[in-house]
């Protein structure tokens, strides 16, 4: 639970060192590969111990209450979403440039002084680079508002290291069932893992859930997501996104070859309103 962030940098430094040592048997995400990343890439994310960054800039794309945000995007991800908008960088942990925590922290501080409201750590999937993310946190002002943008596929071990480190968890709930998760992102046991992470995040700080509407997946994905949120996390902030575009390898799936239709989007928002979801822009 986030009671005070005053000693966050010191705790982040400790947790970063712990996380780095845990790379010897990596269990940061639910794939639970247990490979030695200190010896080189080996697990499902294909990331070694070195962290690379493919984007670091002030952005205004995200939720209104979070922008402008200074977004730091690490290369590599543990999921393989066919429609990933940053697929080239997210599927390749070698993409981008070497991450330098001290230089990035200096840029973050300068952005905050110029009016950025938050700092967002994302990917790919930042859980893959937990050690680097925590190192960055250790160098940031304790009163900075930090956002952890995640696919919600992390492990209990990752959550224990992240406890109290970020003010907001901005978490995806992408798929409404395990079949679509396997088919579109090569993930087993998606639903149970995601729900466990969302419930933990909601009870350990502020949570915003995101769902990207996918064409042809309203019944199988959006509807179960919406129903579960209404029942299990009533009142949680929810950002329903209708900006799907057929990026990366989306064309391998016939229904994902087109953007979302306006009538699909309207139906999805109608359901959200009917269920009383706490939609935020």
């Amino acid at each position: 639970m986030i009671a005070s962030m005053t000693n966050r940098p010191a705790r982040a430094r400790t947790n970063a060192a712990l996380a780095r040592s845990m790379l010897a048997e990596c269990r940061f995400c639910a794939h639970d590969c247990a490979v030695n990343r200190l010896a080189g890439p080996g697990g499902r994310c294909h990331a070694g111990a070195d962290t690379r960054c493919f984007c670091a800039q002030v952005e205004v794309t995200d939720e209104l209450e979070l922008i402008p945000t200074y977004a730091v995007a690490f290369s590599g991800c543990d999921l393989r979403c066919a429609f990933c908008i940053t697929g080239a960088e997210s599927w390749d942990a070698r993409a981008g440039e070497p991450f330098d925590a001290a230089k990035t922290a200096a840029r973050v501080v300068a952005a905050l002084e110029r009016g950025a409201r938050t700092v967002m750590v994302l990917g790919g999937e930042p859980t893959v680079h937990l050690h680097a993310a925590l190192e960055l946190v250790s160098l940031l002002p304790s009163d900075a508002r930090l956002v952890w943008k995640t696919n919600a596929h992390g492990s209990g071990q990752a959550r224990s290291l992240l406890d109290g480190m970020f003010d907001v968890w901005l978490a995806d709930y992408k798929f409404g069932n395990d079949h679509c998760a396997r088919n579109l992102a090569q993930i087993p046991d998606y639903t149970a893992v995601t729900r466990e992470n969302l419930c933990w995040a909601a009870s350990h700080g502020e949570l915003i859930v995101r769902h990207l509407l996918m064409p042809g997946h309203l019944e199988c994905c959006w509807k179960p997501v919406a129903n579960w949120l209404a029942a299990e996390l009533p009142g949680v902030k929810m950002n329903l996104r209708a900006g799907f575009w057929p990026a990366w390898q989306a064309r391998r799936h016939e229904e994902l070859r087109v953007p979302i239709r306006p009538d699909e989007s309207e139906a999805a928002f109608d359901l959200a309103r009917k269920l009383g979801l706490n939609l935020i822009p």
């Binding site: 800039q57 002030v58 009016g115």
Partner: protein, 62 residues
Amino acid sequence: MTTADHPDIPPPLVTELLLLPDGRILAQNLTPVMAAILLELNPNEEAIRRRVIKPSNPPKTP
């Protein structure tokens, strides 16, 4: 030249746009400058309007 060669140089700024035949514009990694440009293209687009930073000196990537 990359930032790996010169680590004091930050990564390049990137915004991606998808222009749809029906006139919709989808954006990814929208920077404040790009948001202002898109608003000029379509002043009635509420989603963009709310993302344009009002002050005369919006935060820029250092």
